[in-house]
Amino acid sequence: MEPLLKLTNVTWRHKVRDFSSWKPWAKKDGAGIYHVDLEINPGTILGLVGPNGAGKTTLIRSICGLYACEGFNKSENYRRKFVGYMPEQVRWEGRLSVKDAISSIAEMRSSYVDVDKLIDTVGLSSRSDDILDNLSQGMRQRMSLACALMGSPEIIVMDEPLNGLDPLAQRAFTNLMRQLSSKGISIVISSHQVSDLEALADKIALLHHGQVLIDGTLEHIRSKLRLDSDSDIVEMICAVTGIQPDEISLDIARDSIIPLRKPGGEEE
C-alpha cells in the first residue's frame, strides 16, 4: 500500500537559550526528534506512545507543518492543508461565540467550510451561540476537534486527545476516530498510556528521547520484545533499552539510557 505520508530520517531540534554564552540572544540545540522513519497509511490509526518528553508533540507538530523540517514525501504547504491538527488541551477562551471562533479559524483555510455542519459533527450545535468562557474542558476538546476536521483532511493528528475527558466522552472520541478511519482518513494519536491505544490503534510507534525505538502492531512489538499481552509502556521501554524496571528512578530521561544523537548520527 502506498503510504499517505512517509517520514524518512526526520530530525528537528528545538533552539534553547545558551546560558554559557555572554550573548543574550545565543541559542543552542536542545531536545527534539532524531532520525524518525515512519509511514502513515490511508485509513489506519497510528499510535505514538512514549513517556513525557519523548518527543511526541514535536513529531506531531513536524507532521502538521508547524516546524520546517525535511524528510517528508509531502511539502509543508500540503501538510498544512491536508493534515488536521488537534493540539493537547487548548484553552479556548474569550467572549466570542463557539460559531464565531470556529468561523475565524475556517477563514484561514482556502476552501469553503460548512461551520454549522462541523459544529453538528462534534456535538456542539446546542452550544453554538455560547461564549467560549462558558465551555467545559470537554466542550473545548470538541472545539479543537472541529478545527482538526476542517477542510476534509486526509490525516488527522491528535496530541493526547483523551486527556481530561470523562469515560463517556473518551468512548465518543474513540468511536468517532474509528468512523473517520473507516472512511479512509488516517489518524495519528499520541498518548503516554499503551492502554489508551490498545483497542484503537492499528500500529504503535514507541518513542523515547526523541527516537522511535520500535514500531509495528502491538502484537508484533510484544512478541518481538518477548513481553506479555498486558505489558505497558514501561516494560516496553525497559525491554528495548535493556534496563530493569526496578532500576527506574525519576531520571528516566537521563542520557545514559538512550544517548542524544546529533543529526549526523553520532552520539553527543
Binding site: 508547524l66 487548548v90 467572549r95 466570542l96 479559524i105
Partner: protein
C-alpha cells in the same frame, strides 16, 4: 482565504472584549471632555497656548488623544499573540494553510480597527461639541489630516504592541513590554530629548529656544507621538520647527512599514 475577513472577525472579537468597558469611558472622558473644555471661549490655557479656531481645538486636544488612545491600543493589543500562545489556540491557527504574512496583516487590521473605530466615533462626536461651543467646524482637509494622523498613530502603536506580544512568552512579560514601550514614547521621550539636547551642547534651561525646538523636532521623528504631532502641525502656518515635510512624511512611512515588516517576519518564524 482573506486577511481582511479574518481581520474583521478579530476586530469583532476585540471590540466585544470585557476590557472595552474600561477603554470606552477612558477615551470618552479624554477626547470629549478635552474638546468641550478647549472650545470654551473663556478658557485660560497655560504656556501661552492660543485656541481660536476649530482646528486649534482639535490640534490641542491631541495631547489627550496621545495619552488615552495610545493606552487603549496598548490595552487591546498587548496580549494579541501571547494570549493565544499561552492558551494553545495559536497552535491551531498556525497549523492552518493561510500564509503567515496574511495572518499577521489580519491581526494588525483587527487590533488596529478595535481602537480606531471607537476613537473615530468619539472624534466625530467631538466635532459636534466644537460646533456647538464655537459655532464653527474645521475644514475637510483639516479633518482628513487629523483622522489620517490618528489612524497612523494607532497603527504604529498596535504594530509595536503586537510585535512585543509575539516576543513575550507569558502574560507578565507581555504586559511589561507593552506598558514599557508606551511609557517610553509617551512619558520618557521628553527626558531622552533633553539628554540628547544637553549632550549636543544645546542649553536646556530655555525649552523655547530655536536650537532646542529644532533638536526636539528632529528627535520627534524617532517617536510615533512626535511624528503624529509633526503631521498635525503641517496645516498650521504659525508652527515651524524647521523640519522639512519630506522628512516628516518619510518618517511616517518608516514608522508604518518597519514595525509592520518586523511583525510579519516574526510571525513567519514563530513557533507555537
Amino acid at each position: 482565504m482573506s486577511g481582511a475577513n479574518l481581520g474583521l472577525l478579530i476586530l469583532k472579537e476585540r471590540i466585544s472584549a470585557t476590557r472595552m468597558m474600561v477603554i470606552w469611558p477612558l477615551l470618552a472622558i479624554f477626547i470629549l471632555f478635552s474638546s468641550w473644555g478647549l472650545s470654551d471661549p473663556k478658557a485660560n490655557l497655560p504656556a501661552d497656548i492660543v485656541v481660536d479656531s476649530a482646528y486649534d481645538v482639535m490640534f490641542t486636544s491631541t495631547a489627550f488623544i496621545i495619552f488615552s488612545a495610545t493606552l487603549g491600543a496598548v490595552l487591546i493589543s498587548f496580549d494579541g499573540i501571547s494570549r493565544d500562545r499561552i492558551s494553545g489556540v495559536l497552535e491551531v491557527k498556525l497549523s492552518q494553510p493561510m500564509k503567515r504574512s496574511t495572518y499577521a496583516r489580519a491581526l494588525v487590521i483587527g487590533h488596529w480597527g478595535a481602537i480606531f473605530v471607537p476613537v473615530t466615533i468619539l472624534n466625530i462626536m467631538s466635532l459636534i461639541v466644537i460646533w456647538y461651543r464655537m459655532g464653527e467646524l474645521p475644514t475637510i482637509e483639516e479633518v482628513f489630516i487629523h483622522t489620517l494622523g490618528t489612524a497612523l498613530l494607532l497603527l504604529w502603536y498596535t504594530t509595536i504592541q503586537l510585535l512585543s506580544s509575539s516576543l513575550a512568552k507569558d502574560m507578565g512579560s507581555s504586559i511589561a513590554i507593552g506598558i514599557g514601550a508606551w511609557m517610553l514614547f509617551t512619558l520618557l521621550w521628553l527626558i531622552i530629548t533633553t539628554v540628547v539636547a544637553g549632550l549636543s551642547g544645546i542649553g536646556v534651561e530655555n525649552l523655547d529656544s530655536p536650537e532646542y525646538v529644532r533638536i526636539e523636532g528632529i528627535m520627534d521623528l524617532f517617536s510615533p507621538n512626535g511624528v503624529y504631532h509633526h503631521l498635525l502641525e503641517m496645516p498650521l502656518d504659525e508652527i515651524d520647527r524647521g523640519i522639512s515635510p519630506i522628512a516628516i512624511v518619510a518618517s511616517a512611512i518608516a514608522w508604518s512599514l518597519i514595525p509592520l515588516q518586523l511583525f510579519i517576519m516574526r510571525i513567519e518564524r514563530l513557533k507555537p
